[in-house]
């Protein structure tokens, strides 16, 4: 599935305009109501035609990063610093009840984890699409109806007339995920944020949805931020990977390079904990647990769980530095790189 994509040392796959990122997250700092930092300065760039897999254990801040990019911080959380630029324009509001300068839906759209729950149970599939099409494309009811059937066909729900009339509870989870994708496309966005869009699906449906997303990224030149904790899915769909730990990006790399040679000990640990058929190795789960946002260790936040910490790691926090075509925040990886 990854053939021809993200190959080797190539800095970016064909068609990716890295000089003009569609989405720029710049030093995002988010805190909860108690003032504890949940994001400690997250920076990411995402270009059109590119899939960035955002991975990390539960609670590391992946969803909050995605929500901040949408300008949709849940109640209680606040942006304490940093900037989100979508097609060069900065978001000015991050509250989920504020409309985020009209960016949402039109430039950046969300594909939710639980697609069925994201659809209004008392409305038809067609209603949801027409709602977005009229708002974003200014179509009248007839044109919107036609465009909604077009979208349903694009996401593989045929015959579209039939599915447009159906209600969410009459569709399977995988079909509703296609509907959610079609809905995200109503505003012709440049950027899609997909927060674990396949976690709730069985393997077959998961593969179908991934294929659909891959096709959309390639045919429409979309930028896709794909949030997951499944590295297998990342290998299938992503061009680049960003690894998060405790509210920070600790490594970014091209997918092939990452799976060939992860630089950060945390990335190594994540890879080692995937059950694999061909490596015939024992699964080695990461030792210890993720510290809570209020109780981060000094120095490198990962040091209590690290397989080879250095003395410097206990007192000094490593910063992101270039390493092997990507970025890595690790004292040991830096030494290796410079050696």
């Amino acid at each position: 599935m990854t053939s021809g994509r993200g190959g080797g040392a190539a800095p970016a796959p064909a068609g990716v305009d890295i000089l003009h990122p569609a989405l720029e997250l710049d030093d995002l700092r988010v805190a909860n109501a108690e003032g504890q930092a949940l994001l400690h300065g997250v920076s990411l760039q995402l270009a059109r035609g590119e899939v960035l897999g955002l991975v990390g254990e539960s609670g590391c801040g992946k969803s909050i990063t995605g929500a901040t990019a949408m300008g949709m911080l849940p109640p209680g959380l606040a942006l304490r610093g940093g900037n989100v630029r979508i097609a060069g324009e900065s978001l000015t509001a991050f509250n989920e009840t504020a409309p985020a300068n009209g960016m949402r839906g039109r430039h950046i759209a969300l594909i939710p984890q639980d697609a069925t729950a994201s659809l209004n149970p008392t409305r038809t599939i067609g209603w949801h699409l027409v709602d977005g099409l009229r708002r974003h494309r200014g179509l009248d009811a007839r044109e919107a109806g036609r465009a909604s059937r077009q979208l349903l066909s694009e996401v593989g729900l045929t015959p579209p007339e039939r599915w447009a009339r159906a209600y969410p509870h009459q569709l399977s989870g995988g079909m509703n995920q296609r509907v959610a994708i079609a809905r995200a496309l109503t505003g012709n966005p440049d950027i899609l944020i997909a927060d674990e869009p396949t976690t709730a699906l069985d393997v077959t449906m998961q593969a179908q949805v991934l294929e659909l997303l891959t096709n959309l990224v390639q045919s429409a030149g979309l930028a896709l931020l794909f949030i997951t904790h499944d590295l297998g899915v990342v290998a299938q769909i992503a061009d680049r990977v960003a690894v998060m730990y405790c509210g920070r990006i600790v490594e970014t790399a091209a997918v092939a390079a990452f799976f060939h040679r992860p630089r950060h000990p945390y990335s190594e640990g994540l890879l080692a904990s995937i059950p694999s058929l061909d490596r015939r190795q024992d699964v080695a789960p990461l030792p210890g647990t993720v510290p809570s946002p209020g109780a981060l260790p000094d120095g490198c936040a990962f040091h209590p769980r690290c397989s080879r910490p250095l003395p410097v790691c206990l007192g000094n926090r490593p910063h992101l530095n270039t390493a092997g075509g990507g970025l890595v925040a690790c004292h040991a990886a830096m030494e290796l790189a410079s050696a």
Binding site: L119, G132, L171
Partner: protein, 310 residues
Amino acid sequence: MTGYFLRRTLRAVITLWVAVTFFFFLLRVDVNIGLLALNMNASQEAIDSFNTRWGFDKSLLDQYWLWITGALQGDFGYSFRDARPAADWVAERLPKTLELSLAGFALMIVIGVPAGLAAAIRNGTATDRTIMSLAAAGYSLPSFVLGLALMYTFAVYLQLLPSTGSTSFAHLILPAATYGLTGSAGIARFTRAAMLEVLGKPYIAAARASGAPPAAVVLRHAVPNAAIPVVTMLGFSVGQLVGHAVIVETVFAWPGLGQALISAVANRDLAVVQVLVVVFATFMIGANLLVDILYGVLDPRIRTAGGANG
């Protein structure tokens, strides 16, 4: 869809029949009606002739058969007091009760629903707290207390409105306000809770994520869903409208069914009590049927139960 409605309607008719029959026997079993209707000192002959005259000497089943066949043709027997058809009582007084309870009901909705919506949308703010404190006060205040307070203020003290009677629109204002204000407190609380529940649903977050502006989120995405439980609750309260009117009618001497029921019970006027039972039960059961039907209209999951997937 049609099948759903037919089943519900049939069930409502059967329920009504069972309820009315139950009351018919309850009011008669083991009771010497003549003894009750006349007084304790009446002679045995007087009692017997009373019972013969009104048919209470027949077996209960015969009485029931006569009553139910009559009722189906609109003949609900005669009042002991003035020998007029019992149905006339209803015909005279039902319009008055409907006038009061519908005016009160309209006021309940007009005040309660917007107040509840505003509180939910401004959840946690001063607006929310103010509305909810007023609602708590209205909820705990018995309607006769509010009625007397309004009567004292507007009729006795300010002398702006008449205190009792039903002859003009001005007469309607205080009873309807009493009715509407006490009822609106519960509706406001219920509407707020329903709206808050919907606003917390993932499909509302998804609507926001899809770019719906705040007004559209509320009006297009949340209100129609919150309307389902609210309409249900309003539908059920239609069934209780006539019953609730009893208290307000008494406070304001409003000549409706409530007053009729109280005097008929006091006079042991059996046929009148019986026909009022039929009216109250019809309202109650009719309201439940209305709710079932509205539910089917509003919520596609009920209409399409079983799935149209095949």
